[in-house]
Structure formats: C-alpha cells, structure tokens
Symmetry: C2
Subunit: 339 residues, 2 copies
C-alpha cells in the first residue's frame, strides 16, 4: 500500500540503506546513484514515513506547545495567536512542524507535557508563561529537555528565553506621559501572580521615582486581562476625591474597557485624561480615540523563539540564553499634553 524505502530500492536496483543515504544526502553516494534513486522516488511518489524515521533517529522534527488554560484571555489580546503565527511560520521554514495540545487543569497540563516529552513526540517545547512560579518550567528544566520560554521566569533566570523588557517598556510609557506634563499618573494592572504585571508595575514606579512624582497607591488597581477589569477600575479610580490625569494600562484589551468606563462616567479621552497601554494590537488604532500603545513585537517573539529553540535542539548553542525583543512607543490620540 504505502511506498516504502524497500520498494524504491528494488526499483532502483540498490539496497534500502543506499536509498536512506540518498534521502539524508550522505556524501559517499555517487552522483549517478543519487540521480537514479531520486528519479525513482519521484516516479513512485515516495514519502518518508516519519514514524519509522523518528523511532530510530530519536528525533521528530516537531516542536510542541501547550495551549494555556487562560486561553481566552490570551487569545483576546492576540498574544497567543500572534505567537503561533510567528512560531509556525518560522518552524515550517526550518523544516519543523508544530504540535499543539492543551490541558484543562495544571495537572492535565503536566500530563500533556509528559506525553509529549516522554512519548518522544517532540524535540523541544515552547512555553508561554508569565506566571511567577510555573511547575512546567521546573519539570522541563529538571528533565534537561530542550525548551524556550516566551516570558520571564524569576525562578530560573538563566534558561533559554525570549521576552521584551517589560520594565523598560513600562518606564517608557510612563515617561511619555510625564513628558506631556502629567504628574498624577495611575496604573491599571493585571493579576499580580504574573511576572508581566509585576514588571510593568516596577517600570511605572521607577519612572515616577526618577521624576520625583508622588505615587498614590489608590491609583493602582489590579484586575484581569479583560476589558471588564478596565471598566471596573474606572469606577474605582475616577470616584476618588483626587483623580489622576493619566493612566498606564497593562493591556490594550483592558484599555478598551477603560475607554468605555470613562465614557460612561462622562470623561473624555484625552481631554480629561490620557491613557496609554501595551501590545498595540491591530484594533488599538480603531478605538475612539485611537490608543497610544507600546508595541512589544509579539509575532517577532514567536518567530525568534522558534528559531532559537530549533538552534538549541540542533546543538548549535545560541550565543545568549536570553533575548530581548525591542519595544516601540506608538503615540496616537489617547495621550495629550496636560493643559
């Protein structure tokens, strides 16, 4: 039924091993044999059986990824989709495929990783994690299995990882507001168990400190990466006796909620209050007003992650273990000079 290497060998009048060597272009096969075998392969429509190949070579030319439980949030702000786009594009280019699986609970996630790793289904894994403590990282690290983290792990600072500099990005966002004359600046954050939330908060505080501005703890509100959180945050912040004139917001999606909240409370952006957020998703320029945002290059992170992981699988030690993708401040109409 299936055309095997033996069929090709027979038709070409050579041994299976020769055919195999042609496939993996071994140097010691004569030009003539190579040509002959290749033409027969073409003729018979031969394709390598990856399972058999993987079984003996112990390599799959596949990288794995697990769809996180907080999937809905990560899809909304395009973090996951954009990462996937970058990863699939790059890995295909390097001759690898991407294997995706998911787990409904933390335990199931670990089970899934185990299946991939111990079942020899993948050669490496891309982890998308922003949790301060992530058991998947611990596991993979202990196994010495090739993997790369998109994000940052405070527990394992030296593992192969790719990220943007969230502290600096947040610093820049805050400084942008400061440069526009704002002195009362609030922060709408994400869940505090996420590294990204912590880092952006740090950058924000650092900027305030550097420019000798007061930090008002009531202007810092924690929520989820959902627009409802932004919406709700406004009812908290804007009902305070003293209100900020500008806000740094953890995520564009949250900013959308902030916009809605402000509009319902009768505030106009940027006239009454300036806002800036992170991710610069495609829809950020379509809001009213268009959002100033920090572009963190998600697609590029995915692309580079795949590239680095494959390098490390193929034993070419990348020069550095931690790559930082530069961010970019995109100013639109949601931030304006304080008058």
């Amino acid at each position: 039924m299936q055309v095997t290497i033996k069929d090709v060998a027979k038709a070409a009048g050579v041994s299976p091993s020769t055919v195999s060597r042609v496939i993996s272009n071994h140097p010691r096969i004569s030009r003539k044999t190579v040509a002959k075998v290749k033409s027969i392969m073409e003729e018979l429509g031969y394709h390598q059986n990856m399972m058999a190949r993987s079984l003996v070579s112990k390599t799959t030319r596949t990288i794995g990824m697990i769809l996180p439980r907080s999937a809905e949030e990560l899809f909304l702000n395009f973090f996951f989709p954009e990462s996937i786009r970058g990863i699939v594009t790059q890995s295909t280019r390097s001759g690898y495929d991407l294997m995706m699986t998911s787990g409904a609970s933390e335990h199931e996630e670990l089970e899934a990783i185990l299946r991939l790793v111990r079942g020899r289904r993948v050669d490496g894994i891309i982890l998308l994690s922003s949790r301060v403590h992530d058991p998947l990282i611990s596991f993979l690290h202990a196994q010495k299995f090739p993997f790369i983290l998109i994000g940052r792990s405070p527990e394992y600072p030296d593992i192969l990882s790719i990220d943007n500099d969230n502290i600096q990005a947040s610093y820049d966002a805050t400084r942008h507001l400061i440069s526009l004359g704002h002195e009362r600046i609030g922060f709408v954050s994400g869940p505090s168990h996420l590294v990204v939330s912590q880092d952006r908060l740090v950058g924000y505080k650092k900027a305030l400190a550097d420019y000798n501005l007061a930090l008002n703890p009531r202007w810092i509100v924690e929520g989820e990466f959902l627009q409802e959180s932004g919406y709700h945050a406004m009812s908290l912040i804007m009902n305070l006796p003293q209100r900020p004139t500008a806000l740094v917001i953890i995520d564009d999606i949250v900013a959308f909620g902030v916009l809605r909240g402000l509009s319902e409370l009768g505030y106009s952006v940027p006239h009454d209050i300036s806002i800036i957020s992170f991710n610069n998703i495609a829809l950020s320029e379509l809001t009213n007003p268009p959002l100033s945002s920090i572009d963190i290059g998600i697609y590029q992170m995915g692309y580079t992650a795949s590239n680095l992981l494959i390098q490390s699988i193929e034993e070419q030690q990348p020069e550095q273990n931690r790559i930082i993708i530069p961010h970019r401040l995109v100013t639109r109409e949601s931030t304006k000079r304080l008058t």
Copy 2:
C-alpha cells in the same frame, strides 16, 4: 535510557505483549495482572513511545491543520484563532493532538499536506477554506484521506464539512435592517473568489427581492477582510448622489473601517446610517457605537469539526456529512429604526 515496555515486562514478570495489552486495556487480562503492571508502570515512570506505536498501528492520534497563506487576515477577525481554540480543546479531550504547519505558496501548501498525509504524521486533516476552488480539497478527496472542511466547497458539496448558513445569516442581517424600515441597503463584500463572500451576497439579494426592495449595484462594493477596505468603501458609497441608509458588512473588521470612514466623512452611526456585520468578535461591543453583528459560532465550529473528524477517523460514520452551526443575530446600537 528510556523506559520501555520490555523494562516494565521484566519488572512485572510478564511478557511485553501483556504489558501492551494492559495499556490498550485488552479484556482478556486478569484484574491482578493489570493492577501489577500498572503499578510497575507508575513506579518506573513509563510512557508509551508514540513513534513505535504509530509505526505498527498505523495511527497517530494526531490531526493536522495547515495555516493558510492569508493568515494575517484570518487572524485579525479571530476566525483562525477561535477555530484553533475550539479544535485544540476538543481534540485534546478526545485524546488527539493537533499538528500545525504552513506553506508560503499554494505549491508549498500542497507539499505540506503531502508530508502530513504520505509521511503518516496525522490521521486526519482539518481544512479551513473558503475558496471556490481549492486544490487541497481535490487532493485529499482523491486520496480518500479523512478530512473535514470548515467552510463550503461548491465543487465537492458532499464531503464532510461544517459551516454556518451564510446565505440565511446574510438574509437575516438584511431582514433585520428591513424590519427597521430601511429600504436603501448597501453591501460591503469580501473577495469574490471566496465562497463566504458569494453566499452572503446571495442572502442579501434574496432578502431585498423577497421584500421588493430595489438593488442598487453601486451600493455593492467588494474588498478584502481588512478595515482599510471598509474605510475605502465609504468614500465610494457615501459620495454617490443617492446614498443607502443602511449597510450589511461582510466582517466586523471591515465594519471597523466603515465606522472610521463614516466618522471622517461626517456621518454618524446609527443616526445617519445603520450598519450590521458578521462574526461578532469580542471587540464588536467596544466600538463606538457598539456593532450589531451576526454571531456565527466560530469556536463551536472548530470544536465540532474536530469532533466529527475524529469520529470519522474512528470509523463511526457521522449521520450527516454536512453540519450547520446556527447563527445568532446580536443587535446593538449600530442599527436603528429609520425615522
């Protein structure tokens, strides 16, 4: 190095075949042996080598999917991300993993499919296609390889496929406008080589005809699934001597551009013109004004597609080859009664 079935067999004092039978819970193994073997597996940390298993069983417990070339567009309107979410969630639940690959050109796409199919890497394929003519469908159909189409193929109406009823959905959207008293209704379409564009146009025309409303060809503008298209369409339509009072728009993203275009031209939605679109992505309720939209249940389509495909892989013929996911009209502030 790796714990194999033989190691388990040795430790349990049984033969490898018995261990194998325990794994696939064969009925003819005694309770006692099962318990014994299982505990040993646990103890040694045994995990099945999928490659070896696949090699002999000729099944991979993996489904394949190829990331289309028009990826960026499909990601923007969440079609692809939401499908993936549904697919991965369901397939994991059924014990399958998802394998993703891509192709930069049509030729590369076919090569990718060939790798997956002939290389025995997957048991079935999910195709996301809306093209009128798709060579991938022809290929898979000719190969009699299990696959399911998310979308509709006019060339192969009887293949396993899942879709929403775009004609009826568009009919309903149009009728919604008609029921609000609108009589001059335009249509902003997508690329005409896509089935979805054609179908929605048909539904729109059908509604107009059923309610004896005039069809003005100048109110039908074709574009891409990009907001620029919607933006550009407005400069065409709204500069006509006679303008529509309502628009049906092929996609939420396009509608975002329409909103921007209208606002720049000085028209207010829904006061001057009502608009309704398709997909009901999460951001549709965040625009100004919030968009009326037809929810076509993309996540559910992905989920069901995976389910059906796996059923058909496992030889349980699904009762019907073509499943229609019901759509849902979601009315928000962008459509209002004509005064």
